[in-house]
């Protein structure tokens, strides 16, 4: 499974300050650490970045790729910043991913054409103006719309990563299962199967601190069983990456060897 590292984001104080001050150090160190722990892609979350977002994105993409030779997942709602990031992205190690478009018309119309223009990958959140649907099937209906817009913009189906959105189990336990079902249904929507992604840690939002890692790991295993292709997680959390490697082996996605955890 593709691990997308989530640690470079505006919410974390050290990273936010580094972004504000254009301080390479903490950002590059985190990038290196995430890649070392197995991240195949790094999420760069600069938030809405209304003030000079495009400059910030340009700077941070170059800063990160200077030391981390992986593709980046560009996480912002600011379309100018998004475009700046796509322009600055070095595609040598893989194409950039737009995080994200959604079923919400304005957002879809803003982001999908960028994927077409720059030939990038794109995440599609299956929510719309009415919010996150209750049933997995209804998420499929939104997915169909996202896929339709993609076709219009010349974005191949293989470049879309559908995200069913995860609701925290403490508040909406019944929804946890729906997101798992949605992964399976999304995959069935096309041949070859549609790709999928989730932002994992939301499953345990609101739960006591000591429970969160356990909830995150087990939920990951269930999603992987239904075919999850990628997840935005903290790669530095070793128990989590150990579980991911183990599930990959148990599902036959990686060949077993006694030292599989060391790989």
């Amino acid at each position: 499974m593709l691990i997308i590292g989530e640690r470079i984001n505006v919410i974390t104080k050290t990273q936010r300050l580094a972004m504000q001050n254009r301080d390479k150090g903490p950002i590059q160190q985190m990038a290196k650490d995430e890649v070392k722990c197995g991240a195949g892609m790094l999420d760069i979350n600069i938030g809405p970045a209304e003030d000079k977002g495009d400059e910030l994105m340009d700077w941070i993409v170059k800063t990160v790729q200077e030391v981390a030779h992986v593709p980046l997942c560009l996480d912002t709602t600011n379309p100018l910043a998004m475009e700046a990031g796509l322009k600055a992205h070095d595609n040598t190690w893989g194409r950039a991913m737009i995080n994200s478009a959604s079923g919400e018309e304005e957002r879809l119309n803003m982001m999908m054409p960028l994927a077409g223009k720059y030939g990038s990958l794109i995440i599609g959140l299956t929510l719309n103006k009415q919010g996150i649907p209750a049933l997995a099937e209804d998420r499929c209906a939104i997915a169909a719309e996202i896929m339709g817009k993609a076709a219009e913009c010349g974005v191949p189906m293989e470049d879309i990563y559908l995200d069913p959105l995860i609701m925290p189990v403490p508040f909406s336990q019944e929804k946890s299962l729906e997101s798992i079902r949605a992964i399976r249904l999304f995959r069935e929507m096309n041949d070859p199967p549609m790709k999928t992604v989730v932002g994992l840690s939301n499953i345990s939002n609101g739960a006591p601190k000591e429970l969160r890692p356990l909830l995150n790991r087990v939920y990951t295993a269930l999603l992987m069983y239904e075919g999850l292709d990628s997840a935005i997680i903290d790669p530095l959390e070793k128990e989590m990456t150990d579980v991911i490697k183990t599930v990959d082996v148990l599902l036959g996605k990686t060949l077993y060897a006694h030292s599989y955890l060391e790989m």
Binding site: T254, H258, E262
Partner: protein
């Protein structure tokens, strides 16, 4: 329904490994698709055939095979030169069979001398093989590695029981190694991991899945190879990305089909053609499964297989 060529794009790629030095060095591997599918991928290097010679006259070889080398096999140096010059071999594989404890039990030092002598006589790449006695091979190949320093040889075989010594010396002397496990995809992966954990680079390894002769287990080798190649290309598993080598002569030339005279088995036809056909078919089958290098014995089988490789690649 219009036909669209069903091309597949794989996320992985076979490592390219070079053996030998100078203008006659050869490269194997580097492909990014299944065997010979050039319509959908790159095949930068054709599979290579190495011609096997032994460090003692091969009295145990079947008649058909001994006949082919009767004037040259009394001395490994002359024999190696014959393979290079008369046969146009792309590479020579020197099997130090005399070092086996059940054979002449020669010493590592004696083996090292043979290696030096052969290296002095040829300029095509050299594959250096032990006698397949794990314990003895560790010492023999250590000495051979040192004697061959600077010539970028392919040293084999490192197995679970003896890889540490062999890998250490191969690393120090700048050689490539053949890593072999017993017809098991997971053991093959584990051995590659152990070798790379010693600091030996993953793209300096060549994988021997353990070959078998046609009719005597070839389908096991065949499927292990397809699974290894599948893990490389489809799962982008770097530990499964070394090129594949098949040492088939040693298995083929001890089966009944390459030995029994027609008088014993009239239904089987003449033994010379039958034996050559047996080695040829074994090689062809394994090429279809992804072989990047073959170690073969009979000149006629080698010539046919090289012609077929030229057609395929």
């Amino acid at each position: 329904m219009a036909f669209v060529v069903p091309k597949e794009t794989f996320s992985g790629k076979v490592f390219e490994v070079e053996i030998g030095t100078g203008p006659k060095a050869v490269k194997i591997g580097g492909e990014n698709t299944l065997p010979f599918l050039s319509f959908e991928g790159a095949l930068p290097n054709k599979p290579v055939v190495a011609c096997e010679v032994q460090d003692v006259p091969p009295e145990d070889w079947p008649e058909t095979l001994r006949e082919a080398y009767k004037d040259v096999s009394s001395d490994p140096v002359g024999w190696a030169r014959h393979c290079q010059d008369a046969m146009g071999a792309q590479a020579v594989a020197l099997r130090l069979i005399s070092t086996h404890p059940d054979r002449q039990n020669r010493t590592p030092e004696e083996a090292a001398k043979t290696v030096s002598d052969v290296l002095a006589a040829i300029d095509v790449p050299l594959v250096i093989l032990g006698s397949n006695h794990a314990e003895k091979d560790a010492q023999v190949l250590k000495a051979a590695c040192e004697a061959a320093k600077g010539r970028n040889c392919l040293i084999g075989k490192a197995q679970e029981a003896n890889y540490k010594t062999i890998v250490a010396t191969a690393m120090a002397a700048g050689h490539k190694i053949i890593a072999m496990s017993d017809l098991d995809v997971n053991l093959s992966k584990q051995l590659n991991i152990l070798i790379t954990q010693m600091g030996f680079e993953k793209d300096r390894i060549v994988t021997d899945p353990m070959s078998s002769a046609l009719g005597y287990g070839i389908e096991y080798t065949y499927s292990v190879m397809e699974r290894i190649r599948g893990a490389c290309l489809m799962q982008n598993d770097a530990t499964m990305s070394p090129p594949l080598i098949n040492d088939i002569g040693m298995y083929v030339w001890k089966v009944k089909e390459t030995i029994a005279p027609e008088s014993d088995l009239p239904d089987w036809g003449p033994v010379a053609e039958r034996a050559i056909g047996w080695e040829t078919t074994t090689a062809m089958g394994l090429l279809m499964a992804g072989s990047d290098m073959l170690i073969m014995r009979h000149p006629k089988a080698i010539a046919t297989v090289r012609m077929m490789i030229d057609d395929l690649a």
